[in-house]
Amino acid sequence: MTFDYHEPRSLAEALDLLGRHGDDAHLLAGGTATVILMRQGLLRPGHVVALRAVAELGGVSRTADGGLRIGAMATHRQVERSADALAYSPALVDAFASVATVRIRNQATVGGNLAHADPAQDPPPMLAALGATVTVRSPRGERTLPVDGLAVDHFTTSLAHDEVITEVLLPPIEPGTREAYLKFLPRTADDYATVSVAATMRLADDGTIAHARIVLGAVGPTPIRARRVEDAIRGQPTRRIGDAIAMIADDVDPVDDLRGSAVYKREMARVWTGRALAQLTR
């Protein structure tokens, strides 16, 4: 682990450093994941570009349209404690507050979390369920892409090497929409989820399901959108949920690991999706 450390003061400067050092450069946000990988010797960049001094990447605030903007360098704890985030969606705050421990949440950033693309993380499913997008900057300009789809594999995103996540934008939530984040922790309170479920749902005046979005964590190489279930319940009365959630087995793609066998996780995905949806229709 021997590298040059850079602390640009602006995004332009950061992009310039990334351009100059190519894939020998690694971005450093809060550092909770990167430091461990570097310490293990698994990550050996020649240049580390820290974003902590780039002021424009901070902040958590409501947007003019009633949505929420989270700067990429906002820490989990800043989201957790933000009155604006709470007003926007208590479930979003729950998802951030579910991550590890206070100490980690004080250090880990929202952008770093998304870029790390750990499929067992708590915030990405909730952000995806809320229809969040990320704004990404590179020397080629700025683009926007949905959080749902940012991760393409375990620890792998669709971002190019010289792209930097600058912010997460959450759209305004339609009135009547309810959200939930549930995390199944069968071993201990401080663990990665065996399965987690983020869901949003809105019922029409006639009691049928007008909108549902369900995203699961820890049961695939990326957060998994339960599209089959969503499609099956859209427009249907809530009593159809029970049958529909059985389809979750085809949406998820879990592996055996320390937090459960694939068989168990598949079943738990069904159980916890059912619980999340029950909470939203109660």
Binding site: M1, G41, F184, P186, R187, T188, A189, D190, D191, Y192, L258, G260, S261, Y264, E267, M268, V271
Partner: protein
């Protein structure tokens, strides 16, 4: 020899205030990794990536050429030296073969830890992979490779090793009493169950650390080892240096739980220090502590028990097979088994029994000692077994225990008359203080709330110890001891004992720990020994000082310079019992359990340190709970895959249920003022208590530890939906 309470005086009623408390809450307490020396080098090791491999060649040239590297040693430099607590079978560095993933092949000393680690990476080792033994039955199968063909040449401390029945067996024992076959013939029912227990780690938060340097002819060692005098002996034998030239300094130890009686690095550090002429320190990465030190034994335990119509035990046989891993070095007991390997039905009256236990060499991480060695495994098996028998007979499990529990004078599973807790009294107390009310629901009709009971037994520690008490000006005294502080509260215990016996205020008794050259030999911390053995020595010292003062006709204030040596030889075979009642709820869809209520009744005798005693019981419960429901040092293809504390989970504060503790203090033990031991009293039985409560709640009988949600879920008679 008992020293029953002679009115210990008011001191024992005073609030307890740890003698080292201030140092520990201000950061002043010095642990081994905190010690640095001028010119100190840092060590790193090269570890085998194979579970079993021949070392074809080791090329250290690139590592040596790295700037800042001061020495690189291989097995060729240290052979044939091996170390171990009893059988010295673990090579200082491997020279011909590596026997597990993590076995050390080379050692580096460099100016910084980073350079040392980089140099370790640059050591080129050519291995020829050999067939690995990754299961105990494979070790005993015909044609299995013999892992220690030269075992006959290994040193065995303090006696001769009895010849094992198979070259891949570390230790083996059979014990029989009564007419076992007749007992089974007379039985109304005979039950046989097999249980599996995983490897677990002691889980101390402080990884091992050691610092070694040469001070003229003297080898100085700062270490996390909790038995400094034993380490001195091990180093003397392994390295061929007289004990008089080795000084071991083991001060505050950041948790031990049995694991830190075995030292690994100190031996290679000595060679590095000698090669460089500089102090050399090694601080184990926690990942390496998990992967390559000494864990609790995994094993398979088969119990067979015959009972009469009312459930009274008539005969018992058991077979305990423990995976000892690549080396037996971590086991200090002459049998080379965990101390209680053969105690398979502890706490019961057993008229006839044949118990067989063994530890087997494999190419896994070595297994050694861990809090109450052998007991958590056997208690899980036995207390689950008893519950299964009770349920099959339709008898309340607590009642079945009441019918069989040992009382003084009964013959227990060892064939010896029982000296210790009156089990009937203990269980009566348990019934009285808990809300125990099992449902005994027929299988398939779970009510998701269940009660579980389990009892446990632990000996009161034995052994010899001595320490020194001397007078100081102004009526004060100082007690000098070699006992390290691993957190049990030994020094505060000594202070309170001396203070009580001399009838002086706590502030007049100072306790100081000294290195191995400055105090008499001490057996170290472990084996539930400190209170009954070293505590008795402290009491003896106080009594001797009192006698000297009386003989001289002086008071403590005008005592002059007096010094006495307190001694203890505690050989009484005495044991204490404890029992739990747990109430759990089980989530019908996920198998997740929650402990709703826990009651512990423990026979502790006289209480000297009330805060420390409660802490040992509470901490023992937490330790047992972790190993009951979440801990498993999982090994796949020989590799430990739970290699950090993110994957090897220890309980957090948020995982702990309410715990009610009731102490039995009426029956004095063999310790000072009638004290007993509590350090290993509370952890072993938790696993079975949970397993029993889970079955009571939902019908799932989990036959292996840890009792995970998934195991319970997989066994649910009917996967209920809400």
């Amino acid at each position: 020899m008992t020293s029953v309470a002679e009115a210990p005086g008011g001191v024992l009623a005073e609030p307890e205030y740890r003698v080292e408390g201030r140092d520990k809450v201000t950061g002043a307490a010095r642990f081994a990794a905190d010690v640095a020396m001028p010119g100190m080098l840092h060590a790193a090791f090269v570890a085998s990536p194979y579970p079993h491999a021949r070392i074809v060649s080791v090329d250290v040239s690139a590592a040596r050429a790295l700037p800042g590297v001061r020495a690189v040693l291989t097995g060729a430099d240290t052979k044939p030296q091996r170390f171990g607590r009893r059988l010295q079978d673990w090579p200082v560095l491997c020279s011909d073969r590596a026997l597990f993933i993590g076995d050390r092949v080379a050692a580096v000393a460099a100016d910084t830890l980073q350079i040392a680690a980089e140099a370790a990476r640059l050591v080129e080792v050519e291995y020829e992979e050999l067939p690995a033994i990754l299961a105990t039955d494979a070790a005993l199968a015909e044609g299995a490779p013999v892992l220690h063909p030269d075992a006959g040449s290994y040193a065995f401390l303090g006696g001769t090793r009895s010849a094992p029945p198979h070259p891949n067996i570390q230790g083996h024992g059979v014990r029989e009493h009564g007419d076992v076959e007749a007992g089974f013939r007379a039985s109304f029912r005979v039950y046989e169950h097999t249980f599996a227990v995983p490897r677990t780690h002691q889980g101390y938060i402080e990884p091992r650390a050691a610092l070694v340097w040469l001070d003229g002819e003297t080898v100085r060692v700062v270490t996390t080892n909790k038995t400094p005098f034993s380490l001195r002996n091990h180093m003397s034998v392994s390295l061929g240096i007289p004990e008089s030239r080795i000084v071991v300094d083991a001060g505050h130890i950041g948790g031990d739980f049995g694991g830190k009686g075995l030292s690994l690095d100190e031996f290679a550090l000595y060679h590095l220090a000698r090669a460089t002429g500089r102090p050399v320190r090694a601080v184990t990465r926690y990942a390496d502590d998990l992967q390559a030190t000494n864990s609790r034994h995994a094993g398979t335990i088969t119990l067979r028990t015959g009972v009469d119509r009312v459930g009274r035990i008539l005969a018992h046989t058991s077979k305990v097979v423990f995976d000892g891993g690549a080396y037996a070095a971590g086991k200090p007991v002459a049998t080379l088994m965990p101390g209680d390997a053969m105690l398979t039905l502890a706490g019961y009256r057993v008229p006839a029994a044949r118990v067989e236990a063994m530890t087997v060499y494999t190419n896994h991480v070595p297994a050694g000692h861990a809090r109450a060695p052998g007991q958590p495994q056997n208690a899980f098996a036995a207390e689950s077994h008893i519950d299964l028998i009770a349920r099959d007979l339709g008898i309340d499990p607590l009642e079945l225990r009441e019918r069989n529990v040992v009382r003084p004078g009964d013959v227990d599973v060892t064939g010896q008359p029982w000296h210790g807790t009156d089990g009937a009294e203990l269980l009566a107390r348990l019934r009285g203080s808990s809300r125990y009310a099992p449902s005994l629901a027929p299988e398939g009709r779970p009510n998701w709330w269940g009660w579980g009971v389990a009892l446990g037994v632990r000996h009161v520690g034995r052994g010899k110890a001595s320490l020194v008490l001397r007078t100081l000006p102004a009526g004060r005294v100082e007690l000098r001891t070699g006992v390290s502080d691993q957190g049990g509260g030994a020094h505060t215990l000594f202070q309170r004992i001396v203070s009580a016996e001399l009838g002086i205020g706590l502030d007049r008794v100072a306790v100081v720990r000294r290195t191995t050259d400055a105090v008499p030999n001490d057996p170290g911390v472990g084996g539930s020994r400190v209170t009954p053995v070293q505590g008795t020595a402290a009491l003896d010292a106080a009594r001797k000082l009192k006698a000297r003062l009386a003989a001289l006709g002086r008071s403590l204030e005008d005592a002059g310079e007096l010094e006495v040596t307190g001694e203890a030889a505690q050989e009484a075979h005495e044991a204490s019992m404890y029992a739990y009642v747990l109430a759990v709820t089980v989530d019908s869809e996920t198998g997740q359990t929650k402990i709703e209520d826990a009651t512990l009744v423990a026979d502790v005798g006289t209480v000297i340190n009330p805060v420390a005693l409660r802490g040992q019981l509470e901490g023992g419960f937490a330790f047992g709970l972790g190993q009951a429901v979440m801990e498993e040092l999982r090994v796949e293809d020989g590799r430990v895959v739970t290699a950090n504390l993110g994957d090897y989970k220890l309980p957090t504060i948020a995982d702990m249920p309410r715990l009610g503790i009731e102490l039995m203090t009426e029956r004095p033990g063999p310790g000072p003022f009638g004290a007993k031991s509590v350090g290993e009293l509370a952890n072993p039985a938790v696993g079975a208590a949970v397993a029993n409560a889970v079955q009571d709640a939902c019908g799932s009988r989990v036959m292996s530890l840890p009792i995970t949600a998934e195991k319970i879920w997989a066994l649910l008679p009917a996967k209920q939906s809400r």
